[in-house]
């Protein structure tokens, strides 16, 4: 119990042995491997030299000013935000009902249906991109940002389905019965009881979908018209060399991502606390 460790029992110090030290070093190496590139990006975004190369010169915020006033870049960012948000909406609109159907109803071909719904996530983006391009061409649909959104929605729906389905499998159906018993129609039960209990899975999968959409390249490459998303823009600019402007916008995205992750972790944490196992 917590009390014993508060009293200091169990906190007895053990001399560091070779194993522990080795483990610590290994952990540091892994962390460096994971985060060194991002740290490099952040550092160079504040470096006044226009070439990404050591040694560092003086500190500057110029690249941020430049990035934020670069119309093409900003349009690309907003396009990516739009595509990500719209794709998430599609994923949720299709994914949640699909997960519910898979969890609750038996219908002929259910197993096949489940495999088919999950399949797009395992398909290479290249295949999704080419096949959707062929499809849009064959039915004569103009390539715009909306075709990109549909493409992302298709590829990412499986994430929502798998996450929400997994949560529903652990969900105690009797609390829905209790809700119906107390007078709630199926819709009220879904709103007041089911949804709050699968909220964490929904938010989590929405965030993952958004992130994946935000840096998606192959599907976008095939399906976009004249509009550029951020990865497309970076890709086209980078061929002429990495500019610190890209580092600056990259840093902003890293910071925003961390904020979003923190928010979602907080939301899910409060959820999990409430939904903690109510076991007899």
């Amino acid at each position: 119990m917590a009390v014993t460790s508060m009293n200091g029992v169990g906190l007895r110090k053990r001399p560091l042995d070779m194993g522990t030290t080795g483990l610590g070093v290994a952990a540091m190496c892994v962390l460096a491997f994971l985060y060194l590139p991002i740290i490099t990006l952040i550092i160079f975004s504040f470096n006044s030299s226009s070439i990404t190369r050591l040694p560092l010169e003086s500190f500057t915020l110029d690249w941020y000013v430049k990035a934020l006033s670069n119309n093409d870049l900003m349009t690309a960012v907003w396009n990516s935000v739009l595509v990500g948000s719209a794709a998430v909406v599609i994923c949720l609109a299709i994914g949640i009902p699909t997960a519910l159907a898979l969890d609750r109803y038996d219908f002929p071909g259910k197993t096949v249906f489940r495999r088919l719904v999950i399949l797009p996530i395992t398909l290479p983006g290249l295949i999704t991109g080419v096949s959707m391009l062929t499809f849009f061409r064959s039915v004569d649909i103009q390539l715009t940002i909306w075709t990109v959104i549909i493409g992302h929605g298709t590829a990412l729906t499986a994430i929502v389905v798998t996450n929400v389905f997994a949560r529903l499998q652990r969900f105690d159906r009797r609390i829905e019965e209790a809700s119906a018993d107390l007078g709630a129609t199926p819709l009220m039960t879904f709103w007041y009881v089911t949804l709050p209990n699968i909220r964490a899975a929904i938010i989590g999968s929405a965030m993952i979908s958004f992130t994946l959409s935000f840096d998606e390249l192959p599907v976008t490459f095939f399906l976009t018209g004249r509009d550029n998303t951020l990865p497309m823009y970076i890709w086209s600019v980078i061929r002429r060399g990495i500019t610190p402007e890209i580092n600056a916008i990259g840093t902003i995205i890293v910071v925003v991502s961390i904020l979003l992750i923190l928010i979602s972790v907080l939301l899910m944490h409060s959820d999990n606390q409430k939904a903690g196992p109510v076991k007899p």
Partner: protein
């Protein structure tokens, strides 16, 4: 009293052809505490769930206050359920759990608060409204579940194994408390349990169910003292079932097995002389006639040899060898310490008596079937 609930010829078959409930008819009167008792798979829970609207019968009808509710969903019948393991909403506080039914019914916030407060007082947890279910003890959760099921003033309250999550001590307290709450609020209670003691302590009437059918309906004393079938006899309490040959002795019957010769009241069921029947004797109905003990008038007296003694604190179980197929179990309540009780030791002989109205004869094949099922074992 008027019938609040009527089940007529209700049958439910599950996928795979398992007949869970087989042509059950049942009248329940307003304000009574009725218990459906039986082992798992006897159809008691399915019957309860059909009354609640969670399952629909294949045939037959369910009338509530004379209205056909057979096919109504749970949210369109004034019946509430206290679920096994309680099924509290984990994301809502105790007060929100209790007030849920009122919120759904569109009751104003002020009134909800008021009525939830009264409920919390009724279940004696006035300060627990803000807690989440995960922050409550099991006993407290049970009370919250009860309050949540009662707040809509249901015509009938259904209780699905309400005590199964509780430990033995708490169980005993809650059985009596729930009985008191029933008596105070006057709502009809229908409970499902597999615990025979619980059913006898709590209910006005008990339905013993077996393989989807009603085996017997009656008060606890009717079922315990006058079981209609070997199944009921074995399921409630413990019993001796000893194969015995029946003979007529004037107006009464005599059952003989080994050194036993027991008078049995003739219930007029036309038992043939010379036939072999199962002699049913409750172990506690056998009286040990120690020094100076006197048998009741008309009771049969017999002697057996003590095979084994089992001391359980407040009582002793004595297994007597009476020369029959199996030993005869005797329960002797101790009103002294064991040493002062003057009981015969193992190997010594003991004289006992049993009254004719406490014993019965059952069909031997029926008893064999019940014993093969492992009921009461």
């Amino acid at each position: 009293m008027a019938n609040i609930l009527e089940l007529s010829n209700v049958t439910k078959t599950f996928r795979g052809g398992v007949v869970a409930v087989d042509d059950i008819s049942l009248d329940i009167s307003e304000g009574e505490f009725l218990t459906m008792l039986g082992p798992s798979g006897c159809g008691k829970t399915t019957t309860l769930r059909m009354i609640g609207g969670f399952e629909y019968p294949d045939s037959g009808s369910i009338l509530l206050d004379g209205q056909d509710v057979t096919d109504n969903p749970p949210y369109r019948r004034p019946v509430n359920m206290m679920f096994q393991d309680f099924a509290l909403f984990p994301h809502m506080s105790s007060a929100e759990n209790i007030g849920y039914g009122l919120k759904i019914a569109g009751v104003s916030r002020g009134e909800i608060e008021e009525r939830v407060k009264r409920m919390l007082d009724l279940i004696e947890l006035p300060d627990m409204g803000a807690r989440l279910p995960s922050q409550l003890s099991i006993g407290q959760r049970q009370r919250i579940a009860l309050a949540r099921a009662l707040i809509n003033n249901p015509r009938v309250l259904l209780l699905d194994e309400p005590m199964s999550a509780l430990d033995a001590k708490l169980k005993e307290t809650m059985q009596i408390e729930l009985r008191h709450i029933h008596d105070r609020i006057g709502i009809t209670f229908i409970m499902v349990t597999h615990d025979q003691t619980e059913s006898m302590i709590m209910s006005d009437r008990i339905i013993v169910m077996h393989a989807g059918r009603i085996e017997q309906i009656g008060s606890a004393t009717e079922l315990y003292d006058h079981p209609k079938s070997a199944y009921v006899a074995e399921f409630l309490g413990t019993s001796n079932m000893i194969p015995a040959t029946v003979s007529k002795d004037g107006s009464s019957l005599m059952a003989r097995a080994g050194d036993l010769s027991i008078a049995v009241d003739d219930d007029g069921s036309g038992i043939v002389e010379g036939s072999v029947r199962s002699l049913f004797i409750r172990p506690e109905k056998i009286r040990l006639l120690g020094d100076g003990g006197v048998a009741y008038d008309g009771a049969s007296v017999f002697t057996g040899k003590v095979k084994e003694l089992f001391f359980s604190g407040n009582a002793v179980r004595i297994d007597l060898d009476v020369g029959a197929d199996r030993p005869l179990m005797v329960h002797h309540q101790l009103d002294t310490g064991l040493e002062q009780a003057g009981l015969p030791m193992v190997g010594e002989s003991a004289t006992c008596s049993v009254r004719p109205e406490t014993v019965r004869l059952f069909d031997i094949a029926e008893v064999a079937a019940v014993e093969a099922e492992g009921v009461g074992a």
